[in-house]
Assembly symmetry: C2
Homo-oligomer: 346 residues x 2
DNA sequence: TTGTACGCGTTATCAT
DNA sequence: ATGATAACGCGTACAA
């Protein structure tokens, strides 16, 4: 009760109540805004709280409300530099949105469908919901979260109609990009992509195929690769494609594009003169190339923000759009510029 | 009491107690291991808990113990791709260590000494401690955390003897690198660095200076820059250095190295024939260059792990080493190879 | 060794 | 509009 217990111990709702000669519940009401309360006392309480820097104890509140004001974001183990900007920006965007709503963001890195870390958080009730940053066609995380009844939002695309997703329009973007390339005089666009078990890969590939069809072209098996994982596989694919006479390589992402550009450079093949190159995803990595690369640009922070906002709405019991689709930009650059004016002559 | 209340409601310590015909405190003791308890009942409780999947409620535990089992990591807004691997790996390492100790990691992105987000977490008691990923000479975060009495570990280097740090030996690494360069026949090493208000920059610079001194050389003002921020400033500095006849440029980090390499390429200056280049920090970014770059390599995930482990020890009240210094590797590559065999002749 | 009773700080229900 | 009072689920002195 002396003058010295200032910053040492934390002040509680009861201390405030006692000091103001009201009850603890009144203070609680003043803070939460719930329940009827006189305008005068409300202001008195709020002012006192402000001046004496009272802050509610999150654990106590959490216990009473069965609500943690925490969400988790599940990150993959980022193996390559090219993936990092995407996931990191997503995370940053999600965190920004969380802070704005007095929520905190908890990071969990786990891959290969290891749900143990998620289970721990759910079982201990450390979070109110989760964001999945990567989505597989058969997703162990999705399966678990559904069975556990935990609100979650997945970044990506899914056929499963009862999972809430936020994503860029990968399909539409690739389709439009292919159309654009073909309209610029390019004849045969090869495609280099990774496993179709990730939905993002699948959507881009479908966009590519439909982009070809839009122009009355059929996909050619000999210049399509959809199972590339290692850099060596990519470079071998490039080798094969070079023999086929294709005049453009469309890379599913920066990782592949990176290898393609390097491999072509090693072989002394000039971009765009001898081979044109485009990427379905642009990260800052592409800024470091001697040739500027035609690519699709997505606002990755925004995707994190929206995923978080959507999740928080779900947690609040609001109705949310099942699938949020964000816009994209096509950046036409040097790497696909026709070198000769006559693009119609052989 | 029916067979249907399976995964819906959460089971509590009392349910376990009742089912086993013991008291709640006995269950609590069995779990925590604190206090005397019969080996028999201990096993009975543990087995029951395991079979009926009981998990303690984190909020309740937190409230009772005044302990959250959460720590926060403070991340800067990563502006450039080059910084991202460092901070992201730190985060990943910290998270890994946290999980291993049943802690969770909370991310907060804030820059420019805006302590508001930290204050919120501290005031609401959402974390037991914090990791600072960047350290300034006059650091608002440090100042705040000290005054608030919150355990924290800073990644970086500080003269302040009562703050706990984890860092690589930036000073020693740069010093050794410079010594090595000079021993390879290089005569004049220019230095390009960023603001000395960040301690990491300061340490590297000091290492450079002492490395020169070790070889009996004096730092030359005309080939030293320690205030570079923008890419344009870097390229201008390179221009100036080219006039001085220096034969090597030592870059404080990848960001600067990136610009240096590009600027030299634009000017048609060959590395290492016409100019040698080395970097005090290696990230995967450097992998994408046509010339392999001599650089220092640090294990960034390990730094996060150690920071986290140290913090958790502090939280447990254990004594911890004030300053943990991690090892480094020097990677000698093509970018500093002497082109002529005669390195001793003029 | 085990059980009882209370505290942790807040919210929510029910009176008043 | 406001005040008791009881949860929320767990930890822990204290007693037995």
């Amino acid at each position: 009760m002396d003058i010295k217990d200032q910053s040492k111990e934390n002040i509680t709702i009861h201390d405030v109540a006692k000091a103001l000669g009201v009850s603890a519940s009144t203070v609680s009401r003043a803070i939460s805004g719930k329940g009827r309360i006189g305008e005068g006392t409300r202001r008195r309480v709020l002012q006192y709280i402000d001046e004496n820097s009272f802050y509610p104890n999150a654990s106590a509140r959490s216990l009473a409300q069965s609500k943690t004001y925490n969400i988790a974001i599940i990150m993959p183990e980022v193996k390559d530099l090219v993936d990092m900007p995407f996931f990191h920006s997503c995370m940053h965007g999600a965190e920004e949105a969380a802070q704005l709503n007095d929520y905190d963001l908890l990071v969990v890195t786990t891959d290969g469908g290891n749900t143990k870390p998620l289970e721990r958080m759910v079982n201990n009730r450390k979070v109110d919901g989760m964001i999945l940053t990567r989505l597989y066609k058969h997703d162990a995380f999705v399966e678990y979260l559904k069975s556990a009844g935990i609100p979650f939002v997945a970044i990506g695309n899914s056929d499963d109609k009862d999972i809430v997703t936020v994503d860029h329009d990968n399909y539409g973007a690739c389709r439009e990009l292919v159309a654009l390339l073909l309209s610029k005089g390019i004849k045969r666009v090869a495609y280099l992509g990774g496993g179709l078990n990730q939905t993002v890969n699948e959507k881009r590939y479908e966009g590519y195929v439909d982009g070809l069809k839009d122009a009355g072209k059929k996909p050619e098996k000999s210049i399509i690769y959809t199972d590339l994982v290692t850099r060596i596989q990519v470079s071998k694919a490039v080798e094969e494609i070079l023999k086929t006479g294709a005049d453009c390589i469309l890379c599913q992402d920066d990782y592949i594009c990176d290898e393609v550009v390097h491999h072509l450079a090693e072989k002394g093949i000039k971009i765009p003169k001898q081979m044109k190159v485009a990427s379905c995803h642009h990260s800052k990595l592409l800024d470091n190339y001697p040739v500027t690369i035609t690519s699709l640009k997505f606002d990755t922070m925004e995707i994190g923000r929206r995923a978080c906002q959507t999740l928080l709405s779900m947690i609040s019991g609001e109705d949310v759009p099942k699938n949020t689709v964000l816009d994209y930009e096509i950046n036409l650059k040097e790497s696909t510029k026709s070198s000769t004016k006559s693009s119609d002559k052989a």
